[in-house]
């Protein structure tokens, strides 16, 4: 018996139930079934970090988790983190420092950075590099990305909030 089963998840604050085959990864579930394509699928082996999402408050690989395993849990994707503005300052800093080129790795980088800064308010550059050890960027290199994350940590420590960096509506 391998038919699709109902999976209930809270995704970006909204609780929903969908049928999913047990073998469907959370990455495919988000992208295919829910159209949340901000979560990227690269290696699908846990190596590149493009698929990271927050699951119950911590970054995990959506390619290394079946959607059914996450059932009952709360997922935040890069879309949810963007819309709630908790990473607005990170996004702005990536932009300002050219911390991306093609952008394929960027959602995973942002989720890693967010997860790191939740755990540790002002990490050292060494700690930032260590946290990024599971994120591959094939275009940019890591210097600008580390710079961006470090800058945000400093600004937050100085009392600036993430939401203050929301883009002005056009």
């Amino acid at each position: 018996m391998t038919a699709a089963v109902p999976v209930t998840l809270t995704i970006n604050g909204e609780t929903l139930t969908r049928l999913a085959e047990p073998r469907e990864t959370l990455a495919d579930f988000l992208r295919r079934d829910l159209g949340l394509t901000g979560t990227h699928a690269g290696c699908e082996m846990g190596v590149c970090g493009a698929c990271l999402v927050m699951l119950d408050g911590v970054p995990v690989h959506a390619c290394l988790t079946f959607a059914v395993q996450a059932g009952g849990g709360a997922v935040e994707t890069v879309e949810g983190l963007s819309e709630s503005a908790v990473i607005a300052d990170l996004q702005r800093a990536f932009h300002e420092r050219n911390a991306l080129q093609c952008g394929f790795c960027t959602p995973g980088m942002l989720v890693t950075a967010h997860g790191l800064l939740v755990r540790k308010a002002t990490p050292s550059r060494e700690e930032i590099r260590d946290a990024l050890s599971g994120n591959y960027c094939r275009c940019t290199g890591y210097e600008a990305i580390v710079d961006a994350i470090e800058a945000v940590a400093r600004r937050r420590a100085a009392g600036e909030t993430a939401a203050a960096f929301l883009e002005e509506p056009a």
Binding site: T2, P59, H61, L64, F66
Partner: protein, 286 residues
């Protein structure tokens, strides 16, 4: 590639999990964090009919100190090994090894039980269980039993866990304040599996080594206790000469094989370098 189709079951108790496995007539896999199993399923190295998700069984959780022994539920995550104050104090080798295991997101989901049940010879936690003389609590259809680490790791990916049995918890003799621990590994890149890794736990009393426990990973099909090097250290002073003799003694403890990446002689050399560093670090700090 995607996993072959399977059915999914989420038991709430150990008894339910064991029954579900029995019902599948062996064509089932337990899944804990999935950080090794999901890639194996995606590559179709394994294709069980049924997946039994043990991640929601409360009996497999918990970190507590009982009668001088630390009990860690099999579902203790890598990140908890890194962060938990009881582990830092009473099983420091786990806390020291944790940052070397994979990447942060993998450590958020990977469990100690999954790592030790898999028994990858390049994994950090199995070797540390050996260094700490941990006992593995295993539950099966015939009830529960305990297996000491020295008898647990049997061959490449082979442990004392029989098909269908569950690793329930680790029982680790609590480290004393006189214990000095160190862990390090040589890897090509942060988060990669180690070319060689080592954990050392020394009981120091009045400048003398009362007790020495050393285990290495990535030096053969199973984690290895460096019993000869331990004997060299025990009862003596931790000075440069003793450290040199312990390094030399590793030749009797290790029997690495040549592989495509590293010749056996180089692996032995690297193990000696690593042991020297760890013992030097402990000597300097005490």
């Amino acid at each position: 590639m995607k996993a072959r189709a399977f059915s999914y079951f989420r038991p709430a108790t150990i008894a339910e999990a064991l029954a579900a496995f029995a019902e599948a007539a062996g064509d089932a896999s337990y899944i804990a964090g999935g950080q090794s199993l999901v890639p194996a399923l995606a590559l179709r190295l394994q294709a069980p009919e049924r997946l039994i998700d043990i991640a929601h069984i409360p009996e497999l959780r918990g970190i507590s100190l009982q009668d001088g022994s630390l009990r860690l539920g099999a579902l203790t995550r890598h990140v908890e090994a890194h962060d938990d104050p009881l582990i830092a104090r009473y099983a420091p080798l786990l806390a020291l090894a944790a940052p070397h295991v994979a990447h942060p997101a993998i450590r958020n989901r990977g469990t100690l039980g999954g790592s030790v049940a898999l028994a990858d010879p390049a994994s950090e936690f199995p070797a540390m269980m050996l260094a700490m003389d941990a006992e593995m609590e295993i539950a099966g259809p015939e009830g529960a039993r305990r297996v000491p680490a020295a008898a647990f790791f049997q061959d490449l990916y082979q442990t004392a866990i029989e098909p269908g049995e569950l690793l329930v918890a680790f029982h680790i003799p609590a480290a004393h304040p006189q214990h000095r621990c160190a862990f390090d590994e040589l890897a090509r890149r942060r988060g990669d599996y180690a070319i060689v890794g080592c954990g050392a736990m020394l009981g120091l009393e009045g400048g003398l080594v009362e007790e020495a426990r050393i285990a290495l990973l990535s030096v053969g099909p199973v984690p290895v206790r460096a019993r000869t090097a331990e004997t060299v250290l025990a009862g003596g002073v931790l000075d440069a000469e003793t450290i040199r003799r312990a390094q030399a003694a590793l030749a009797d403890d290790l029997d690495p094989q040549d592989d495509e990446q590293v010749p056996a002689a180089m692996r032995l050399h690297l193990a000696r370098v690593l042991l020297g560093r760890l013992l030097g670090r402990i000597a300097e700090a005490s």
